[in-house]
């Protein structure tokens, strides 16, 4: 663990990723202490200061009802991260289990499970999430559900392919020969060998989930006001470009930093695990 950390820190790009993600995590966890105007995450109006360009004490300016953008971006990170973690927390176990069962059992089970997966994969992700959100009420929870529904098939596909390969390894046969149960072989023998790829994909995906969730709320289908969300902040500000540029630029940059950071870490992890083999 410590060795892995040292390797990550020795590469300038992954170090940058670590720093970016570190900052985002700290912002999200300690939002209440870092945000200069914590009350601005809610439905607050301050028309005396509305739509101001960045100037102390409003580092990123203020929005159309006078709320501090910097505070709102920090709270939006918290929402985005919670969403990402919840989505992965559901999508990964579901996808991994489906992939393991399909890959290990083969035959009809594989056919049934993987064709269902293909159906999900055949619909463009954003369209799928939008159609789910169109049916459901646009709330944070439903947004998570929609993104989860489009995310688990990728894990099923990944783990399925790895299981197909690992299944032929000697240790699987050895475990079967000494009478290990199917559950044991799947979850205790094969799954741990898939962990490096799963963890790498999870890190990469956190960034993309934040992006997709922002896209949903940009279209008005995600988190609803007054809860701060990067996507809806960009959408609101876009109408006032280029004059009130801060309304759009800062939330967009915030999305960029998060996606970029998670991608750097993900790539670094991929190299790290690849070198270990």
């Amino acid at each position: 663990m410590r060795r892995a950390f040292a390797i990550l820190a020795s590469n300038p790009l992954s170090l940058l990723g670590l720093i970016l993600i570190g900052i985002i995590l700290i912002c999200a966890i300690f939002a209440d202490f870092i945000a200069p105007f914590p009350e601005h995450r809610g439905a607050v109006v301050d028309f005396a200061n509305f739509n101001q360009a960045p100037r102390w004490p409003h580092l990123m300016g203020t929005d159309l009802v006078g709320r501090d953008l910097f505070s709102r971006v920090i709270y939006a990170y918290r929402i985005s991260l919670i969403l990402g973690v919840v989505v992965l927390g559901i999508a990964v176990p579901v996808g991994v289990t489906v992939g393991l069962i399909a890959g290990y059992f083969g035959r009809y089970t594989e056919f049934a499970l993987m064709r269902v997966t293909d159906v999900f994969l055949s619909i463009p992700p954003l369209v799928l999430a939008m159609s789910i959100m169109g049916v459901l009420e646009p709330t944070l929870i439903n947004g998570m559900l929609a993104v989860t529904a489009m995310w688990w098939p990728w894990y099923a596909r990944l783990v399925y392919n790895m299981t197909r390969g690992e299944k032929e390894e000697g240790y699987v046969l050895a475990a079967e020969v000494i009478g290990a149960s199917r559950l044991h072989v799947m979850f205790r023998e094969i799954l741990p060998n898939c962990f490096p790829s799963i963890i790498t994909k999870m890190t990469l995906d956190l960034g993309f989930i934040i992006l997709i969730a922002s896209s949903l709320s940009f279209l008005g289908l995600g988190v609803q006001p007054p809860t701060p969300d990067l996507g809806s902040m960009v959408a609101d500000g876009a109408k006032y470009l280029p004059d009130s540029w801060w309304l759009t630029i800062f939330p967009s940059l915030a999305i960029l930093v998060a996606v970029f950071g998670f991608n750097l870490i993900g790539d670094a992890l991929r190299e790290l695990f690849g070198a270990d083999q």
Binding site: G170, Y171, A175, V177, I178, G179, A180, E189
Partner: protein, 293 residues
């Protein structure tokens, strides 16, 4: 006469595909007495490994496999046992050692953990400390002097020879009645292979374990086995005590097999046709002095 550890009578195996039914084993009979080391020798594709898989009850799980004949293990007909009961036998009463020891160990667990799992098969209540002690004792038997270092190692940190010894120790840890060795150590180099075979021979003698030794390497078989079965295209073509089969090979295929072993003194490789007629001669049985054939 005691009950044989393994008694196979007229075992037939076929695979049913959409187009046809293909018979792979055409009635094999084979028996192993307690403590006896029996070798099954043949070229690749002759049916050695599928025989082992049937004994272990693995092929029975395959729906396309059609198996007839009887396999009696320690007086119990495997056919009459449920899949569950067959599973209970595996890893406790019968175990297996494989060709490539390194890939037979899971790369993500330390040896100590994997040893613990194996011991838990026989005694689910076994705790880690008891497992360590038992495992250390077994590793000492396979001449591994620093068990603690090995327990803390991952399989890829140990040499092939070390892993093979660990595998043998694991296989014998639960005191099985039958050990199936499927070309053990073929993936290792010759000197290491010789060492581990010697170790294995001593160990099975000591534990009074029966061995079904599957190999295509006649030199190894001669050193290791008491009795030999020669298998060719799903039929046993010759069987008998090791010494007499090697001295007076009666079947054309056995003679060809022996001639095909490259000599260290040179002399070239003999020409063997793909399927000479002589190879389908009837079974040659060498009478054994012990009385059971």
């Amino acid at each position: 006469m005691t009950v044989p550890t393994l008694d196979i009578r007229d075992l037939r195996l076929g695979f049913k595909t959409y187009e046809a039914y293909i018979e792979v084993l055409h009635g094999i009979s084979l028996s192993i007495a307690p403590g006896e080391r029996v070798a099954l020798v043949g070229e690749s594709g002759s049916g050695k490994s599928v025989t082992a898989r049937i004994v272990l009850g693995l092929l029975q799980l395959l729906r396309s496999a059609r198996i007839s004949g009887s396999v009696v293990f320690e007086g119990r007909d495997l056919d009459r046992l449920s899949a569950r009961e067959r599973r209970r036998l595996r890893g406790t009463r019968m175990t297996m050692v494989f060709q490539d020891p390194t890939s037979s160990l899971n790369p993500v667990y330390r040896i100590g953990t994997q040893f613990h799992e194996v011991l838990k098969r026989a005694d689910p209540a076994m705790n880690e400390r008891a497992a360590r002690e038992r495992a250390a004792q077994m590793l000492l038997e396979v001449s591994i002097d620093d068990p603690d270092r090995v327990f803390e190692s991952y399989p890829f940190q140990l040499s092939g020879g070390m892993n093979q010894r660990v595998m043998i120790a694991m296989a014998l840890a639960n005191e099985p009645a039958l050990l199936i060795a499927d070309e053990p150590g073929t993936a290792l180099d010759v000197t290491v292979q010789a060492q581990t075979l010697k170790l294995m021979r001593e160990l099975v003698e000591h534990h009074h374990t029966s061995v079904l030794f599957i190999s295509h390497n006649l030199g190894v078989v001669r050193e290791f086995a008491d009795r030999v079965y020669v298998i060719y295209k799903g039929r046993i073509v010759e069987q008998g005590p090791c010494a007499s089969v090697f001295e007076r090979p009666g079947h054309a295929y056995t003679r060809a097999l022996m001639a095909a072993v490259p000599r260290i003194t040179g002399g070239g490789l003999p020409d063997i046709g793909d399927e000479p007629r002589d190879f389908s001669q009837p079974l040659v049985v060498h009478e054994s002095r012990g009385g059971h054939a």
